[in-house]
Amino acid sequence: MEEKETLTIINKVDELPVLAGKIEELAEKWEFPIDLTMNLNLVLEEAVSNVIFYAFPDKEEHEINIMICRNDHSLVIEIHDEGVPFDPTLKQKPDLTLPAEDRPIGGLGIFLISKIMDKVSYKRINNENVLTLTKNI
């Protein structure tokens, strides 16, 4: 069995609580355990806030389309935007062995996504960034 939900937000930070609210609704409907809901919220916040902050240098309003799909064994999130090409899978992983003094500020968002999800893939299709995040459930 496969179920799918889609959601469109605009590229503004104010939209993040709207997104979080939708995830809570969906988690209740699909009866997700609380930890999975938190992780789903976290990866979406990280991925979508990257798009909000960096994808649209023109500062105009743009849509970000999100699709969440689950079947018996996995949860798949797809995020589409028409922003500047950006492949987060190419971002360098932070060095977790560094002491606090030497740890760079930032760069953790994409790393968290890659640790929480089982698969992260990026494609540029028809002028769109398509980020696909998969978690086995």
Partner: protein, 109 residues
């Protein structure tokens, strides 16, 4: 997010409740900076009520740790919920912070 600040012994204890995320991390950072500006250098973050943190929030924890080290102060973190502790583990933060199970332990260390 709700923050409650209290002076206990040599520490300023900041009790964090709710979420720290992209929408509110700047307020959290401003509150912590106020403590440093007022001359505090020993801080405890009591996270018993913290139920969500994203990389924006983690960023403020790291900045606070760097400041505290540069002032030869202490930043102790206590009472992390298991799901938040997991995020700390994943980020490698568990090894760069002094983390305690209870506030009493954090105050004594």
């Amino acid at each position: 997010m709700n923050l409650t600040k209290e002076k206990i012994k040599d520490f300023s204890v900041v009790k964090i409740e709710g979420r720290i995320d992209t929408t509110n991390f700047t307020s959290f950072e401003a509150e912590v900076n106020q403590l440093f500006d007022s001359g505090e250098k020993n801080i405890i973050f009591n996270c018993s009520g913290l139920n969500y943190i994203s990389s924006s929030g983690l960023r403020v924890f790291l900045i606070t740790q760097k400041k505290s080290i540069s002032l030869s102060g202490k930043l102790h973190i206590c009472c992390l919920q298991p799901s938040i502790k997991e995020i700390f583990d994943i980020s490698g933060f568990s090894t760069i912070f002094s983390i305690y199970e209870t506030q009493a332990q954090a105050l004594e260390a």
